[in-house]
């Protein structure tokens, strides 16, 4: 019962509406519960075949970049993710899932997937009263229109928990900014890929709305 990467099926393969990528990176069920809340059935899987067959993909994650990349390589999901992006499938990265979509992470000096040019850096803050990780609710200001950010007002806050932040190489990939001492990219995107540094599954109604828009998204922007 296998489907090769070139697409020769030996048995009918299920096409899941949403697959949440499982790579031992925590909080997957909270993403699944949030999808259920907005009316979508999401399955959690670490099977590259199932990822390739899915209609759309959520790439969540908390944890460390190094162990996440090792897990993705071991299971062949790194290749599946690249293929899914090339196939034009709507893909949503969340937190670590966004960070490892870039080329490189300072965390454990890890080469990452390179779906979008850029890197992930650790917060180095001058103000002693600012804590790392950046934990809590902060405003996400859209700087460019995108179907997933439709309706997000500049003062709308989302929930963040992270010690590293994304630095896309090109401004063109930057869709929203958040301020923590300085501005950083809270949302990045390119074609059918969109990534958010905050946790929509823990951001109340605003977060649920973003997930709903992802479910309705055709992958174009």
């Amino acid at each position: 019962m296998r489907l090769s990467l070139s697409g020769h099926a030996t048995a009918a393969l299920v096409t899941d509406p949403i697959v949440i990528i499982d790579y031992d990176a925590g909080n997957l069920r909270s993403v699944q519960r949030a999808c259920a809340q907005v009316g979508a059935v999401a399955v959690i899987s670490n099977d590259p075949q199932r990822i390739l067959a899915a209609e759309r993909i959520i790439f969540p994650g908390v944890g460390a970049a190094g162990s996440a990349m090792r897990s993705l390589r071991r299971t062949g999901m790194d290749a599946a993710l690249r293929q899914a992006v090339a196939d034009g499938k709507p893909l949503l990265g969340i937190c670590l899932g966004l960070q490892i979509s870039l080329d490189h992470s300072e965390e454990q000096d890890t080469p990452t997937l390179g779906l979008i040019p850029g890197e992930t850096r650790r917060f180095r803050l001058d103000q002693p009263e600012l804590k790392v990780p950046h934990m809590g609710w902060n405003a996400v200001r859209p700087v460019k229109a995108h179907p997933l950010l439709e309706g997000v007002a500049p003062e709308d806050e989302f929930y963040f928990v992270h010690a590293y932040y994304p630095v896309p190489a090109r401004d063109a990939n930057q869709y929203a900014l958040t301020t923590y001492e300085e501005d950083f990219a809270a949302a990045i995107g390119q074609g059918n890929y969109f990534g958010v540094q905050f946790h929509p599954e823990k951001s109340g109604r605003f977060g649920l709305r973003l997930l709903r828009r992802f479910i309705d998204w055709d992958g174009r922007c």
């Binding site: 804590k131 809590g136 109340g204």
Partner: protein, 259 residues
């Protein structure tokens, strides 16, 4: 700019909501799932569930409560009370808790903090500290001592030193719960909160003693806390979550005002 957080703590015993005054004399005050949903809809920033169930054979009830809440409430959910091992923490995480609070068991066996941080990530491990005021002594130079078992057992450990040790071992956040103030509604123990907040670089949650909106403002300004935890003042309907947030916002405290 990062907002300060308003956190509501729900003490749960045998699956029901309870509220203690100075950690004794607990009484049932309602259905935790219903309360959680109401606070969420009213703009609460984070929820804490504390399991104060006495008998271990009833502990699985808590997992059901967490699971039911996680299905309806989409803000960070923190759970503690009786967490003794990574296995306990993992059960709660699977049920839907984002963050795990460790308390007494970590004082007895500090390695628990490091083990949980390794398994769940630092940001998901909250070190909850029950602290009482004592005379300054060589063992407690800060004048604050750690107590465990719901405030019953003094440990002869300095609270400030324990906060630093907790951070070093990998806790992602600290709850500073002043048991002298707990349930009194006379205000947070500001000196203690500021003392600890200045000594660590992880977020500090002020807990114990909130009775008036002004107390929250004090904790988040003078007390230097990143978040204020409330219980009685919202559980009994004296104040609503949104009312407290509006007050803090009007006083210049940065709060999340749209939800």
């Amino acid at each position: 700019m990062l907002s300060k957080r308003l956190i509501a703590c729900l003490d749960v015993r045998d699956g029901k909501l309870a509220k203690s005054v100075r950690f004794v004399d607990t009484k049932d005050i309602g259905d935790p799932v219903e309360k959680a949903r109401a606070y969420y809809e009213d703009g609460l920033d984070e929820l804490v569930f504390y399991d104060i169930t006495a008998s271990s054979d009833k502990r699985s009830i808590m997992l059901d409560v967490v699971e039911a809440v996680a299905k309806e409430v989409f803000i960070p959910l923190s759970v503690g009370g009786g967490v003794r091992s990574v296995a306990d923490a993992t059960d709660l995480r699977l049920a839907g808790a984002e963050k795990i609070n460790v308390n007494s068991a970590a004082v007895r066996r500090p390695a628990l903090i490091a083990e949980c941080a390794e398994a769940l990530g630092n940001q998901n491990v909250v070190l909850s500290m029950d602290i009482r005021r004592v005379d300054v002594s060589p063992a407690c130079p800060s004048g604050y001592e750690m107590v465990i078992n719901g405030g019953r057992t003094p440990m002869g450990i300095d609270a400030l030193a324990w906060a630093r040790e907790g951070e070093r071992l990998g806790a992602g956040e600290l709850v500073v719960n002043a048991i002298d103030a707990d349930g009194t509604r006379d205000g947070y123990e500001l000196k203690l909160t500021a003392l600890i907040a200045e000594a660590v670089r992880i977020p500090v949650i002020a807990s114990g003693g909130a009775g008036k909106p002004e107390h929250l403002k004090e904790a988040l300004t003078v007390g230097k806390a990143d978040a204020a935890l409330v219980a009685s003042m919202v559980h009994y309907g004296d104040y609503s979550v949104s009312e407290l947030k509006r007050y803090l916002h009007s006083q210049g405290v940065k709060m999340r005002m749209a939800w």
